[in-house]
């Protein structure tokens, strides 16, 4: 790890940064770097162990004292996850990844599409009961799933969407839309009305203003809303547990919960699954990180 001090390794970059940061152009002191190293180790250590455990034979994981490096490589969990039959827990994880991805993408697409329109209305139009409308939407976000899971099950059966990804998308959208709507409203609120007014003078209609002016400006908000919504979908457990029962729609949390039942828990399989589950959101998050940090600030500071 490189130490602090004026950047000898990458002077160009340091220079570029100094333009942006004004006076604050020097690297942080050495001790700060050491702290950062410790933090990185603490956060990454569990993942490092997951990686090791995922290639260690089951009986080696049950050794005392534990050996921190596998005696011989056991790639069976990875092989099974990628090639196993869909009926096995490992093979089922593969379809769970696909299901989770489709459900998250579908939910986010649907929620964002309807929430953009709604957020525009709440932010830009004056109408009676505006505050209560937002709160009304938000309250569905606050209902614990346990409260409504049984009647919801009945409805899903009646519309033929039980154990079905579309069914999950509709259910998830019902509580993720309010969240996105609320977030986007805050971001739209942060954009001064003068923008709309200027565009109106130019002859743009409301929808054109929304699509071509406001939305591009609210990009950070939009991306952070997308990221948060994706994580909410990725994370959801109880609805998925009750509403899905075959590889056709089981999601990652359900599949992982089945890795650790009362009769059998394979630590290695759990580890491999955990690692895989973290990859998609991290990729999404890193891609959008720049927007997200900016977006969080704008959304966060507003009420």
């Amino acid at each position: 790890m490189s130490s602090g001090g004026a950047g000898s390794a990458k002077p160009e970059r340091g220079k570029a940064m100094s333009h942006r940061r004004g006076m604050n152009d020097r690297y942080a002191p050495v001790w700060m770097h050491l702290v950062a190293v410790v933090v990185i180790l603490v956060f990454l250590a569990p993942f490092a162990w997951l990686a090791i455990a995922s290639v260690t034979a089951p009986s080696d994981l049950l050794r005392r004292p534990l050996r921190w490096w596998p005696q011989h490589l056991d790639l069976s969990r990875w092989v099974n996850i990628f090639t196993g039959d869909a009926n096995t827990p490992a093979g089922g994880f593969r379809s769970a990844m696909v299901n989770s991805a489709i459900v998250a993408a579908g939910t986010v697409a649907l929620s964002v599409a309807v929430a953009v329109l709604g957020a525009y209305a709440v932010s830009r139009l004056r109408f009676r009961g505006r505050g209560i409308t937002v709160l009304g939407f938000l309250s569905t976000y606050m209902i614990p799933p346990i409260a409504i899971v049984i009647p919801l099950y009945l409805i899903l059966v009646q519309i033929g969407l039980l154990d079905n990804r579309l069914g999950l998308i509709l259910v998830y959208s019902s509580f993720i839309t309010p969240f996105v709507l609320w977030t986007l409203t805050n971001f739209f609120d942060a954009l001064p009305r003068e923008i709309d007014e200027a565009a109106t003078i130019d002859g743009a209609g409301r929808m054109r203003i929304l699509w071509q002016v406001l939305l591009p400006l609210a990009k950070p908000g939009l991306f952070s809303a997308i990221l948060f919504a994706t994580m909410l979908c990725w994370d959801e457990f109880l609805y998925a547990l009750i509403f899905t029962s075959t590889p056709a729609s089981k999601t990652i949390p359900v599949a992982v919960a089945e890795f650790s039942g009362k009769f059998a828990t394979d630590f290695g399989l759990l580890s491999a699954g955990g690692l895989l589950a973290a990859i998609p959101p991290v990729v999404v998050a890193l891609v959008f990180q720049r927007y997200v940090t900016a977006g969080l600030a704008a959304g966060g500071v507003k009420g």
């Binding site: 956060f43 606050m142 019902s174 990009k219 457990f237 759990l270 991290v282 900016a294």
Partner: protein
């Protein structure tokens, strides 16, 4: 809601004022100033009369309303109905008996629920406090000019990317009393003499759940703080440092007050989530040992599902909604007032 606070205004200005700023501006113009207000009035007269926008607003909100309420309205009404009845079977034909507010009244004398509420409050307070303190520290660290900052940010982001069920399963394994790597590590380093049963006693189990929760959710707090720091004008801190304020004083007198709105957001978002905590407990301990980690959401689940006491379970669930809603309203209030106080220079 929608009450525009001034606290971002200087930040927005300073960011857009910086020529090399690569981030897209989220507020290209300054705050709403009085100079443009006459124009605004005309604008609102043209577009903003309540009658004309009302119809359009309804039209624009309709798709969202369909998506949100289309599926859940009946279930919610059913839950409300259930909460006033004694219902012991999920079957639609099952007998029900109207009991008025009895379910709600019982909730206030149910010793198990009271204990569960105590655990939930403990969990909420400790985990949220820890996440905020650590989040502020890590956010500060991430904002530093470090040589491998991307790695730091990626590392801090990772736990957040794990679904709660996965991270809870992972922690259950890491903390395993017989083969958990944490026991192995601490023993081999000589920190503990022998393997411990971390999830084997009520207090210890609750604290371990909190650690698992903090590990996962500090990320969110840290990134919120990082974002908050990004909009604090450097000029303010620099001015203070010219005045000779030490780093610690600078942090407490300048940075922290300006971070207040962001901290408030994290505080309330995390509080709401923590109060509803279910997955992590369900996976790590199922409420045990001896109910020491049972939370209100887990209790509601057991009451409604395992015990099929649907009326009472629904009542508890509704009480959770009420508490969470109150927290949310308080959050919005605090945000508006807090924001104005900070922003009103």
């Amino acid at each position: 809601m929608g009450h525009v606070t001034d606290s971002t205004a200087p930040a927005t200005q300073s960011r857009t004022g910086s020529p090399a700023n690569a981030d897209p501006p989220h507020g290209p113009a300054g705050p709403r100033t009085s100079s443009s207000s006459s124009y605004s009035k005309r604008f609102r007269r043209t577009y903003g009369t309540s009658r004309r926008s009302g119809g359009l607003a309804a039209l624009l909100l309709l798709p969202a309303a369909v998506v949100v309420f289309g599926l859940v309205t009946y279930p919610v009404l059913r839950t409300v109905w259930l909460s006033f009845n004694r219902v012991l079977s999920p079957m639609p034909t099952a007998p029900s008996e109207f009991v008025g507010f009895k379910n709600f009244i019982n909730a206030f004398t149910d010793s198990d629920l009271i204990a569960a509420t105590g655990h939930t409050i403990y969990f909420t307070l400790v985990s949220t406090a820890a996440e905020i303190v650590l989040g502020v520290l890590l956010g500060q660290l991430m904002a530093q000019k470090l040589r491998f900052r991307w790695l730091l940010r990626a590392a801090i982001l990772l736990p957040w990317a794990l679904p709660t069920v996965v991270s809870a399963s992972m922690w259950r394994y890491l903390l395993n009393a017989d083969y958990g790597p944490i026991n192995a590590l601490l023993t081999q380093l000589g920190i503990i003499g022998s393997y411990r049963s971390w999830l084997g006693t009520p207090t210890s189990a609750m604290n371990m759940i909190i650690i698992a929760d903090v590990w996962k959710n500090t990320s969110i707090a840290a990134f919120f703080v990082l974002a908050g720091l990004a909009v604090i004008p450097n000029e303010l801190r620099e001015a203070a440092s010219v005045d000779g304020a030490g780093a610690v004083r600078r942090f407490f007198s300048i940075t922290l007050p300006l971070l207040r709105p962001v901290i408030m957001v994290v505080l309330v978002l995390r509080t709401i989530e923590a109060f509803k905590v279910f997955d992590i407990v369900y996976v790590m301990t199922r409420g045990g040992p001896s109910n020491g980690t049972q939370t209100v959401a887990v209790y509601a689940y057991q009451t409604a599902f395992s015990n099929q006491n649907f009326g009472y379970g629904s009542a508890i669930a509704l009480l959770i909604v009420v508490v969470v809603l109150l927290l949310a309203v308080a959050y919005i209030r605090m945000l508006s007032t807090g924001g104005t106080a900070d922003g009103g220079r």
